[in-house]
């Protein structure tokens, strides 16, 4: 069971990343202190830091990283395009329109409002892009889907710029920070909601794993091998989009994870989606947790945007991997 052993290894890496993430920060903690604090023992301030700040933040980073990586792997297979990533079909643009709109309108004191607006915007964009792509014919042509998504994304960007043009400096800044993505406001409620959406979504993606394998060698071939392609495409589009929408709603737009993590897994262990999807979830989670540690600690007390860290760490690694494999 090579696959199972590799997944266990990745799970151990994720556990290590989570522990490191809870230990490091403005106040450094030992493993002993962390364990005590989790049980509610020891210094009340430490307990508060661990339970209210560090653990929620680390878990949210893990969930978002896993969701984005799984979503990216799914989009790459669905669109038969290695450059596909979670935001390629405009979900992030739709979410940003919702979030920025609410921020600029000033109803933003409660972060819950922004998240709800972002999710609503994302959901609308998912339906809009599907309608655009599917009205062109009875079957869902993934090339048309890609075009529709890119066009919708460009339109959403224009909307955001328009809204920002008429915003004051303070909300401009707040909107920009939201778009750069952050885990700083992590709450248990967000974690619960994301886990609630992510669990079933992962189950659906696992059921789609083998059909996605077949789809990636060609849609017609997949149909001849017994795949109900229209159903699989719709399910893959819907599930991957919802994962992205939920992630963006709670943490803003965090780039790079969804593009690169599936490629890393594929280069190391091959393109079988039955392994690729769970491995991407674990590796994506560990990667984003560690990236968040760097974002918090490198330039403390200034906190770097998480997207900057994912790109600065991920790009050189990706280039190294490409070179090594001579692809």
């Amino acid at each position: 069971m090579k696959g199972a052993a590799r997944l266990l290894l990745l799970a151990a890496v994720l556990a290590g990343a989570l522990l490191l993430s809870v230990r490091l920060g403005a106040v450094r903690l030992g493993t002993r202190e962390v364990v005590d604090a989790l049980r509610g023992a020891g210094d009340p301030a430490t307990v508060a830091i661990v339970r209210r700040l560090r653990v929620p933040r680390s878990l949210l980073a893990a969930l978002v990283g896993g969701a984005l990586a799984a979503s990216g792997a799914c989009f790459q297979a669905l669109l038969r395009n290695p450059l596909a990533e979670p935001y390629v079909l405009g979900v992030s643009g739709g979410a940003a329109v919702g979030a920025v709109g609410v921020i600029v309108l000033g109803a933003s004191a409660a972060s819950g409002t922004v998240a709800v607006a972002a999710f609503a915007g994302a959901a609308l964009s998912i339906i809009l892009v599907l309608r655009l792509a599917a009205s062109a014919g009875r079957t869902l042509d993934t090339r048309v889907l890609l075009l529709a998504g890119v066009v919708a994304g460009a339109f959403f960007n224009a909307c955001i710029l328009l809204v920002l043009t008429f915003s004051d400096a303070e909300s401009f800044r707040a909107a920009l920070f939201w778009m750069m993505g952050s885990f700083s406001g992590a709450t248990w409620r967000e974690i619960g909601l994301l886990a609630l959406a992510g669990g079933p979504a992962l189950a659906v993606l696992m059921a789609l794993a083998r059909p996605l394998n077949l789809l990636s060698i060609g849609e017609e071939t997949a149909a001849y091998l017994g795949v109900r392609t229209e159903r699989v495409k719709l399910a893959a589009y819907g599930t991957a989009s919802l994962l992205t929408a939920a992630s963006v709603a709670v943490s803003g737009v965090i780039g790079f994870v969804g593009l690169v993590i599936p490629h890393v897994v594929r280069m190391l262990w091959g393109p079988d989606h039955r392994f690729l999807i769970p491995a991407s979830v674990l590796l994506g989670a560990a990667f984003l947790v560690l990236a968040d540690v760097l974002a918090r600690t490198v330039a403390a007390p200034v906190e770097l945007p998480i997207g900057v860290v994912t790109a600065f760490v991920g790009v050189p690694f990706f280039i190294w991997l490409l070179r090594r494999r001579g692809v």
């Binding site: 789609l208 060698i217 079988d272």
Partner: protein, 280 residues
Amino acid sequence: MSGWRCAGLTHRYPESTHPAVRDLSVEIPAGATTAVLGPNGSGKSTLLRLLLGVLTPTAGTVEFGDKPVARWGREALARAVGVVPQGEETVFPISVREMVAMGRYPHLGPWRREGDEDRRAVEDAMRRCDVWDLAARTVPTLSGGERQRARVARALAQQAPTLALDEPTAALDVAHEMAIFELLRDLGHAGKTVLLVTHSLNLAARYADRLVLLDHGHVAAEGTPAQVLTRETVERVYGWPVEIVRHPGPGPDTGAPQVVPLSGEQCVRMAHPREDFHAA
């Protein structure tokens, strides 16, 4: 054992003014090797897609076995017909073994693990197509001939009683082309129903039991190779002067009709030369 029967079959692509297939009735019998021939654009691939249920006819009916092809579920049809479609491109570099093993999908579905029976089917198919030694290679590194053999192996791994192939030897050299046709003959002798679309009139004449010659979306001639490949019919359909000779042998194909295209100046003796060629 299942064959196809279609009646009054018409299909027009949405973006096109002329139907690709019109009012076509034909029977593809079980237990035989049938080759579908015809000029470019005569509707061969469209007919194959209609027979395989990935296109829905504008009018007419297609029956496979005892029921309309549309009523077969995709998985059930994949257990009954193995298909080698025209060229496909893998996006990610899967291994040859992985690609052939995809032929087990109709038996396994999304969840079930590969068992001994599946592994045996995959290995048998790969040995039969002479790609067992390539198992660990990735598909993009294969030559055209190797890739085509691997795709035939995938269709064989489906262990379906019927095999359908769309121009399986396009772009192959003569030895690889012959190897594929010899393999098809073996499969036919082993009792499989084989349906193939090809441009190779002479190999079809040698290796198929029945020919269906298409022209402008309908059947111009059907029957045994000797019935279909007459000078008059071939010249009428292809619009080029030909001579029909007999395969000199030795071997099982001795005496099969073989089409020899003549030089263009012979166009003048044809009753209805194709104007586009004639003018040139």
